[in-house]
Symmetry: D2
Subunit: 438 residues, 4 copies
């Protein structure tokens, strides 16, 4: 992604737009085909000095002015006058941004697909791996690690699908000329717009969208959501990797997670980097959303604020996705510890199940009262819930020791976990099979 | 929208969820049909004390605990034990949020439709109303007011379509029980989920999404984009309404836009309120995106931060849409002033056209040089560009006075403005005709 | 705080401004003293219909228009003409916001002082309570709980001092009239500004600040920082309260942290609410910072966006501070569990100390290598680090078992923890003793 | 600023910290003086491969690990073991960030001083330059351009003073070792902290602040406020530079503000760039505030998110300040146009004054009614307010034509504008004279 959004990639994208524009105008009969061909021949980034254009960009406040100048100088003299014909800076910048976004979306869709695939594997593999489900950072009920990962899978696949949808339908050529009328193309404006869309294989908008930035904001928001999904996975990993929880560890290896001072540490460096990326993406996306309020036919600042923000959002989102892939690919899962953590509360974790079982005999309100009391005694006395339950005649008269044991067995209280995993996998397979994302 | 997101609306939505849950569980054979019927009979907000539940919410940190208590007290004794059967707080809060979001999205889709329709009227009506196009707050080229409004139309319709799409496919029932396994429903969890989806006519998710908030973030982002579109329209209106521009005025009337001290002012109060709303929405949406990173099976803060944020985002977005509708419904358009503003630069505004016309004779580089020089002299001398052009033999030898006049006529340099308006209207009509948004 | 920022409090603050304005103008000889006295007599919120003014605010887009109308109606006829003399809406709204901010800052300074005081107690009390220090969510080195709390103390006291400083120097009267010239007060404008400052005991700015919002943004940022400090404490509490860590628990009691379905849970509800508040504050503060870019002599939206945002930021920050106070006041500290958690890594946590001790004999590089190897073997074999160290002749030849034991004793490796606690307490006492915050 | 926050500047700052740490430890008797001297001799960025360290940073997730490795390799063998003695990554990164912040704050204080000085000149120069004051983008009352600029001056000087204060008191050495106890320095931790503070001339904090980020958030917020002030000035400039307003123009020159297609345009490119920078700074600052909630003794993501955010915030703020300085240095002020714009409403702008004058005769309510009516007639008939006023016997019987003319003269209704300018200049001179900001 870094190379897909580098200065050089930007330059090439702008050159691609200039070449396609000339081709479109030649097809529309506005400029000679030879000129278009000559321009296309010249539009290769390696023929230009990226750094010099970068410096001139700072001076002129736009990358297009120096680019057009350099391109005009580089083409044969007879083609020079047809360079950038009838277009304005924003046409080139916005359409180039769409090209880069297409590439960025393709890369992200692919990488998110890898993350989803890995989640699918893990969900299947750990379908029967019991662990504590946790709400508000407290153990709540047993779940399976497979179910947790199935949740990651669905969220990842949803984010991927949204990006894929934007890639198919959310992009568009921008071509409006100086004020959105394409006046400089005379009566051929719409024709050139149509041809340019075809040349670049980008959707053709009803009209120029120079001051209507919903398109960019939607891409930004979708990146934010994708990054947020990675952030959620990273947070789960980091929390499970805590020394006291120790249910997973990130892949180890030279230079990965070692502390400069503490030889024993296995830092969740991947999750940490993801978390850092995600926070930065969210800030950038907020900036893109806030930049939608733009003046008249071209904004005085809000548009320009998008220039570095959008590629940075792509880079950071891609960084997060990439790191999650690494983390999940080599994730060490300590199933024994997951199981052991289920026992930490000496049965309290299963109290809901006991309530449910007991409720069938005595009604829920009384069942809840009895179990609450037993839990309280168990906590106060530091004894297993099993003992306290059986010590209470009101319970013991309703449930046999074997029934209590069954009620306290985590494996017997997973509800629809397996069914949910099946549904998640089925939904994922159905969508992935059908969508021929390029 | 205020009533659709009021405390009472929240209460009713949560009661609707409880009633539907009981009905679903009765269908699944988990609880008696009579109990479900009794619960449904009781689930009317006017049977409860909204304020008392509100106060208890503050104390217990969740609205569901006091609601379930009040509901349990209110139903016949034999149904009491089946209230909230197997569900957890988040199931009720999230599903109720989906119900409110559905209502909110419906209202917004409708209101945005009204704004779009009004834009369509204005675009048609002002197809030939010339005005300056402005980039970076400088006059750039002539456009028509109809074209400007056609841009608003497309952006508004896009935002509406996105919200309509989310209303159709972006919502979902949440039902997971204490940790997302529906363990408390035994083997009937998936069945109840299915029935509940049917009862509430909400999409059925593959698995519970309690800790995966892409759904909420997407709604938030779409609200942000819709609000951003309103913000763009409001900004255009406020800028056009400036004393020195005076191309439009907001509808006047008692209590609208009067200054407490300045009797002559016609403040663009609608646009101002929209701008204020939009800024606040963007901040809230940033909060929703940032809240995606949630812990394990229920977040310790990020989820709770959504509670007031999402309805507030709906309210403010609806406020912005509503105000824009008012502003556009009664917008005064001063076509004479638009035309007059085109003359402010004494022809400079048309210089690109002169370059284009002259370029056909002498090539673009020379044409640009000649016109640049004439513009410079015109500015320095404070004289019309026409005079300076004709005073230059290099120009006068190429273009006749009539040709210069034609080149300087704004009406002759609108390019594809009309075609773009047609395309915008056609796209809008096609989509609005086809989409049977319920 | 809720009452300090209620609609009624706003109304009273605006009435206070109107009364003080009349008094200032009477002192400046602009209006009769009797009129000022009559206005002051009328300016009590309970004489007005808060709801009616609220509804009229929505209609007119500003609270001041209906307020001035109601006040004018309520004063004796001969005073009516002097109501709101020469002032504009923004003067009243902004100065009232400063009065509310002063009250809000006073409350926050006081509440943060309580939090700081409680931290000071805890830091002293738990000076010798050993626990694991954790970095990147991994156990790193032993610390004392007192040191952790001393960090909270310094951060809290810093935030409090910043708010106290803003309360002393960051507020200011706003009085500019319709465009910031006080033209309507003729030659007495500066005099009235001076008197008004005196009346309200608010700093007198060099000139009106209607369109320069640094003052508001700074208050917002300081609230954000104060909230952020509470968020950090809340996060530490929630993490320590995790089932697997169990080092602290929030105060229990009826209605506090009980789960609707899981009788055994002790949810960190206070920390969760703080986290939710803090996220929302940060979003609001971002909005206030972004609203600094305001047009000319009064903004068309950005100023209006502040109106509800600033009091909401106060409310949420106060909510966070208040909850942290509750949490810390009744915090249960499980010192045994803290100590036990130190043993979880079977000595690995002390590896840095072993490196340091061994380095004195063999140099750091070799010491690090030896300890790294021992750690690796300990992890692989699941054996205590002590055994692995003593089993390695390269170590055993340098360190006796007693020396190894000493190196592995957490209490012997607290470094400057105690000194840091002393410094934190001394700094806090010095500042708190000296600052007579009113 | 770009060089002050470049990768090389970061490297040098980290090396400065390592050198100072060694010196401090030598003074504390922990390491040999020769080692410290050798380390100091080596700590020059040009002795290291910035790019190689950058690449290794990506791999290891922290810049300090490869830096310490390179530094250890580069020093004489006998000093190698003392490199980075007892410190941890965060100590170096945070303290280096403080050094860079100090340099950044110095540069900003200086540049903001230049902006303020230029504002002071302009305020004095344009003390009598009349122009319309505008509220809600509508002309409200006459002001002087000097008064407008005096507002910029005060806001700029306030932002500068806040940054200067942070530079003096808001920075601090960070030194805590692996978990904030400085355990690795044994009993000398506090001593080394003290010496390090002296070496680097940075304030000494009571205790390590690794997980308490108020310091960084405050710097960020102050940058945000400074940027916001620049944004306000830029917005005023861009609005005044509008074609229809034409009261100012940015300095012209080759490559400045020229359009690629429209030869006549004088784009406010400086203001546009400032606006873009400011939007981006605000997003970054929001990220810094949101990153205050950090885990335990070192955050798992939020801290890392600061690394690139803070220097980027410095760069963008400095870019905004620098551009505003350029804009104001060469600002063209069209005083004739300012005056002409005052006449655009044919007297309506002066209606408040007429109300005030008339109110002295007939009371304010009646005066307001009469003037309102005259304004309405003037607008409807497109005639000057003067005529309508004199045509109304109820007015003409109270005010002579000369009195009406006087009431309509903008120069006679500037109120305290001059006094405010004096106060702004006096406050500025007093502060700037007194503060010996280094």
């Amino acid at each position: 992604m870094r190379s897909a959004t580098s200065d050089r990639a930007w330059l090439q994208a702008m050159l691609d737009v200039e070449a396609a524009l000339a081709a479109a105008e030649a097809k529309a009969g506005l400029i000679p085909e030879e000129a278009a061909a000559a321009i296309a021949d010249t539009c290769h980034a390696d023929r230009f000095d990226v750094d010099a254009i970068g410096r001139a960009t700072v001076a002129s406040g736009t990358p297009v002015v120096p680019l057009v100048r350099a391109l005009t100088d580089a083409v044969p003299e007879e083609a020079a006058r047809y360079v950038h014909w009838g277009a304005t800076t924003q046409d080139v910048v916005d359409t180039a941004a769409m090209l880069l976004s297409r590439r960025g979306l393709d890369l992200l869709v692919e990488d998110l697909g890898c993350v989803a695939e890995r989640c699918a594997e893990l969900a299947e593999e750990h379908r029967a791996t019991l662990m504590p489900g946790r709400t508000l950072l407290q153990q709540a009920l047993p779940i399976s690690f497979g179910l947790k990962v199935a949740g990651w899978l669905v969220a990842t696949a949803d984010a991927r699908d949204r990006l894929a949808e934007l890639r198919r339908r959310g992009l568009a050529v921008q071509l409006g000329g100086a004020a959105g009328t394409l006046a400089s193309l005379g009566p051929r404006g719409v024709d050139v717009l149509h041809q340019l869309s075809a040349e670049l294989d980008l959707p053709e908008p009803p009209l120029p969208w120079h001051a209507h930035r919903g398109r960019v904001a939607e891409i930004g928001a979708a990146l934010g959501v994708a990054a947020g999904v990675m952030g959620k996975i990273a947070l789960d990993v980091a929390l499970m990797a805590q020394t006291e929880v120790a249910e997973v560890a990130e892949p180890s290896g030279p230079g990965r997670g070692g502390s400069s001072a503490l030889p024993h540490k296995r830092n969740p460096v991947g999750a940490v980097e993801v978390s850092a990326c995600v926070r930065r993406v969210e800030a950038l996306v907020g900036g893109l959303l806030g930049a939608m309020t733009q003046e008249h036919e071209r904004a005085a600042g809000a548009w320009q604020a998008e220039w570095e923000t959008l590629p940075e959002a792509f880079r950071l989102t891609a960084g997060a996705v990439d790191r999650i892939r690494e983390v999940l690919d080599g994730l060490q899962v300590f199933t024994g510890r997951m199981r052991a953590n289920l026992e930490l509360t000496h049965g309290l974790l299963m109290s809901e199940h006991v309530v449910m079982v007991l409720a069938e005999r005595v009604g829920r309100p009384q069942a809840r009262d009895l179990v609450d009391a037993a839990c309280l005694r168990a906590v106060d006395a530091g004894r297993p819930l099993r003992e306290e339950l059986l010590a209470d005649p009101a319970v013991a008269s309703q449930l046999s020791p074997a029934e209590v044991d069954a009620a306290l067995d985590p494996a017997g209280y997973l509800g629809s976990a397996d069914a949910f995993i099946d549904r998640a996998l089925a939904a994922y397979r159905a969508r992935s099979g059908g969508s021929e994302v390029r």
